[in-house]
Amino acid sequence: MRELALHILDIMENSLIADADLIKVFIKEDIKADRLIIKIADNGSGMEEKQAKEVLNPFVTQRTEREVGLGLSLFQAAAKRCEGDFNLASVLGEGTKVEAIFKYSHLDRAPLGDLAATLAGFIATNGDEIDLNYEHIYNDAKFIFNTKEVKKELTGLSITNLKIINWIKSYLEEGLREIRGGEV
């Protein structure tokens, strides 16, 4: 994938399939330590131990439409080629956690990409069914966004309304710009 944001979106799609109603996305850009950490955790159906082991194999999928399952293995490969690490932890009935660690300055590391458009797009199509808790750290600065907070203000109006989605997208863009000290 051209952007790490697209990997994140792809993993969030897994959470939908696992019937999660909460996804936590945590991103830490630690420039001093030259590390980028991405964690995605859901409260979906989780996997059995055997399945959690198999799922990183690109020739294994739970679906019947085709015989390969690429999402997790692609994300793992992206981390591994950047002197990074990748962990998958899943508990049946409780949820799944994915963690990818990258050497921040590695030449092969894809850019994080357009996180605001990615997350706003996800909320536009799934926001009524699922909540998103997003935390982004850039060195010592932190930005937090939570759809539950937004829904509280909306008092019944759908979070998928286009004008609300645009507001969320700008809110995310602004928040990220702020913690990165003005850069996008």
Binding site: D10, E13, L16, R63, G71, G121, L157, K163, Y171, E174
Partner: protein
């Protein structure tokens, strides 16, 4: 910095507009968001759909689906007009989105050149 106060004002404004609309009879646009779709540009297609709907002030429900097994035809987008068959469009380019929304969602004419499948209502 954008504030929650601003969000509250926006909500009040949107709520007034919404009262004029019929929620039950909305067109539905469904985007393929499996790994294959995402890799082929589904996120950009979704952004283009949202932008076009807003520009033309069309009230549609935008949803998504996972991989449906037509990975080589991604990015895929389906249009389901109320009471009509569901039409699948494939191998989409960003420019196609505008056309599908104008011709199919607004004027209710299927864009034959881009359509690849039909699912009965």
């Amino acid at each position: 910095m954008k504030s929650l106060e601003e969000l509250r004002q926006l909500r009040d404004k949107v709520e007034k507009e919404m009262k004029m609309r019929d929620e039950s009879n909305r067109p539905e646009i469904i985007i393929g968001m499996g790994t294959c779709g995402i890799a082929a540009g589904a996120r950009e297609i979704l952004q283009a759909v949202l932008a076009e709907l807003e520009k033309r002030d069309v009230d549609a429900k935008v949803t998504q689906t996972g991989c449906i097994g037509m990975c080589e035809r991604e990015p895929l987008l389906d249009v389901k007009m109320p009471g009509k068959d569901r039409i699948t469009y494939g191998n989409l380019k960003l420019n196609d989105v505008k056309r599908i929304i104008t011709e199919h969602v607004i004027n209710e004419n299927i864009v034959q050149e881009l359509a690849i499948a039909r699912m009965d209502n």
